[in-house]
Amino acid sequence: MKQLLASIKKEFFILLNDKIGLALLFIMPVLLVLIITIVQDSAFKVVNENKFSLLIVNKDSGNSGDSLISLLEKSGNFELTIKNTTKKSDFSKVTLANKHLFGIYIPTNFSANLSGSAALLSQTMLSAFGAIEEEPIVTAQRNQPLEVVYDPILQENIRFTFSSSLATILKGLENKIVLESLFKEMDFQEIPAEIRKQISHQSWIKESIAQENKTAVLPNSTQHNVPAWTIFAMFFMVISLGGNIVKERNAGSFIRLQTIPSAFIAAVYSKIFVFFIVALLQILLLFAMGRFLFPIIGLPVLTINSSMLALVLFSVLAAFSAISYAMCVGTYAKTQEQSNGFGAVSIIIFAAIGGIWVPTFVMPDYMQSLALISPLHWCLDGYYTLFLKNGGWKDLLAPISYLLTFSSICQLLMLLKLKKQHYI
C-alpha cells in the first residue's frame, strides 16, 4: 500500500509539472467542444432557425408574383429584399453584391403561365369526370420559368432545404389557382369559405422523437458534441500516458523499479489510478461546461435525463477503456515518437470511423461495419443511449460488453508484454 501511495503521489507530481500535457488533457478538449459546438450550432441554426436572405425581382404582370412573395413572407423562413427595378442581366450580380444567399427572378408571364396551367388541368379533370363535353381549349405555356440563383459557397444541404421550401410554397400556390379555376369552370365566383377553411387546416404530419419514454430531449449540437469530444479527449490521453510509459522505460526507471520487489506493479496501478482521475475530471469539466456555460453563451444546454448511476458507471468504463488503450500503446511503442504518432493517428481514425465527427448512419455500409471495431463508437453509442434515447441498462448492454472486452484485451496484451520484458 505504501508503494502504491508513493507511486500515486509521484504520478501526480509529474503530471502537475507537465504543463503541456495538462493543456493537452484539459484545455484542448474544452476548446474542441466549445469551438465545434458553436460552429455546428450556427450551421444548425442557418438551416433550422435563421432566415435565408433572399432577393426577389418581381416582373410579373399579374397577381401570382405578389401571392408568391406573400407566401414566402408568411412562411417565416426568408428575409426578403424586393428590387423590382433590377434588370434580368444584372440579377445574378446584384444578388451576390448585396450578400443575399438566394435570388428569385419572377418573369413577366408568371401569372399567365400559372393560370394557363391551372385552367388546362381543371378542364382536363372536368372532362375526365364527364362534367363538360368539350376537350380542353387552353394550352399551358412555361417558356419563362422562375429563375433561382444562389451563393456559390452554400452547401448542398442548405440549397436542398431552400429548394424544397420554395417548391412547397409554389405547389401550394399552384393548387390554390387550380382549385379556383376548377370552381370557376363550374360557374362559382370563388371557392366556398368552408372548403377554403378545411384546406388551410389540413395537416397530415405529426412529428415526435423516437425514444424509450416520454421525457423529450431534442437532438442538438450540444447533445452530440459534449459526449463525443469528451470521449475523444479521454482517448487522446494516449499522448500523455503512452508517452509517459515509454519515457520512463527508456530512461531506465523501469529497470530500477524491477530491482525493487512489487514496485513495478505499484507503478502500473498508480498510472491507472491517476489517469483515471484525469479522465473523470475531463468528463466532469466538459459536462459541466455543457450544462452551465453553454446556456450563458447562447448554446443549447446539455440535458441529462437518464439515470445518474448509469451515467457515472458508464463514464467509469469509458475512462478505463481509454486508459487501457493508452497503456497498451505505451507498452508496445519503442520510442515516444512511435507512441505519440501511432497513438494520435489511431485515435483520429477511431474517432472518424466511430461517428465522433459525422454520424455513422451517413457512412457507406462497409464503414458502418468498420465503426463496430472503434471503442469511441461504443462509448458514443452508450452516451447517445443515455443522453438522447433515455435508455436503461438493457440498452447499454452492447456498449458495456464491447468496452469490457476491449479493455480486457488491452490490459492482457500490456501484461503479456511486460511479462515478456521481465518487468513483472
Partner: protein, 252 residues
C-alpha cells in the same frame, strides 16, 4: 580464480543464457562467484554480455540453464527476496527529472518501504555525503551531468544494500564528482558492502577494483586480482590486458 577468504554471496554454476529470438547464446557455461565485501569489476568489449550478466546477478531474470544461488549471512534467498538486499545503479539516469532531488529520493525510498522518519534522515545523510544538500529542492532538469550521476547513485543506496551493482557510474562526470562518488563507494566497502562494477574507464577501475573479470563473447575469459592478471599475461595495465585477451577487432 583466486578466492578471497570471504563468504560467497552469489554463486553461479554452468550458467547459460539465450534470448528467444537470438541464434547465439548471450552467456555460455559461466562459473562465477561474488564474495562478501569485495569490489569486483566486470569488463569487456561492447556486446560481450556484461549487461545480461549483471541482470542475472541482480536476479532480474532467470538463466536458460545453470544455477544461481543467493546467500547472505548463511541464509539462502530466492531471487525475488534477494532483490531486497541489492542496490542497482544503472548507466541511464533512472529517475524523474521533472521532480526534485528530495522528491525522487522520497519516492524510491517509499518503494523500498523504508519508514518515513528513517528515510528522511537517510536522504539528508546521502545528499550531504554527495554534496547535494543545497539543491535538494531543485528539479533534476537543472542539475549538471555530475550531479545527476550522484543522485543516481544516492537512489541505489537508499535501501542500505548488502551488494551494490554499478553500471558505468562515472560516465560524463567531472573529476570532482568522480572523487565524491569513489570516496563514498570506498567508505561503503570499508563498512562491508560488496560492490559489482562495470566501466569502460579502465584507469579508474584499476584503482578501485580488487578483483577483475573479463568477459568476451558470452564467456568469462579471465578472472583474478589485477596484479595476478597483469603478471600472468605479461602486460602493464588493464587496457593492454583487455586488448591482449579480446583482440583489436571492432565489436559494435
Amino acid at each position: 580464480m583466486e578466492a578471497p577468504n570471504k563468504s560467497v554471496i552469489i554463486e553461479i554454476t554452468n550458467l547459460l543464457k539465450k534470448y528467444p529470438k537470438s541464434e547465439v547464446n548471450s552467456l555460455n557455461n559461466i562459473d562465477f562467484c561474488v564474495f562478501k565485501g569485495e569490489k569486483v569489476g566486470l569488463f569487456g568489449p561492447n556486446g560481450a554480455g556484461k549487461t545480461t550478466f549483471i541482470s542475472l546477478l541482480c536476479a532480474l531474470f532467470e538463466p536458460s540453464k545453470g544455477t544461481i544461488k543467493f546467500t547472505l549471512n548463511n541464509q539462502h534467498f530466492n531471487p525475488k527476496a534477494f532483490r531486497k538486499h541489492i542496490g542497482f545503479v544503472p548507466q541511464e539516469f533512472a529517475f524523474y527529472e521533472e521532480l526534485t532531488a528530495y522528491q525522487n529520493l522520497s519516492y524510491f525510498g517509499a518503494l523500498c518501504e523504508i519508514p518515513s522518519d528513517i528515510l528522511k534522515e537517510k536522504i539528508n545523510t546521502l545528499l550531504s555525503k554527495l554534496g547535494l544538500s543545497h539543491v535538494k529542492n531543485a528539479k533534476l532538469t537543472t542539475f549538471s551531468g555530475g550531479m545527476k550521476r550522484r543522485i543516481n547513485l544516492a537512489i541505489g543506496l537508499l535501501n542500505d544494500p548488502e551488494i551494490l551493482f554499478l553500471d558505468e557510474p562515472t560516465v560524463g562526470v567531472d573529476i570532482q564528482s568522480k572523487t565524491a562518488i569513489f570516496s563514498l563507494l570506498n567508505e561503503l566497502n570499508s563498512q562491508g558492502k560488496t560492490i559489482v562494477y562495470t566501466s569502460h574507464h579502465l584507469k579508474e577501475a584499476e584503482d578501485f577494483c580488487n578483483r577483475i573479470a573479463l568477459i568476451d563473447t558470452g564467456s568469462i575469459i579471465a578472472c583474478d586480482t589485477l596484479e595476478n592478471l597483469l603478471i600472468e599475461n605479461n602486460v602493464l595495465d588493464l587496457e593492454q590486458l583487455l586488448l591482449t585477451l579480446t583482440g583489436n577487432q571492432l565489436r559494435d
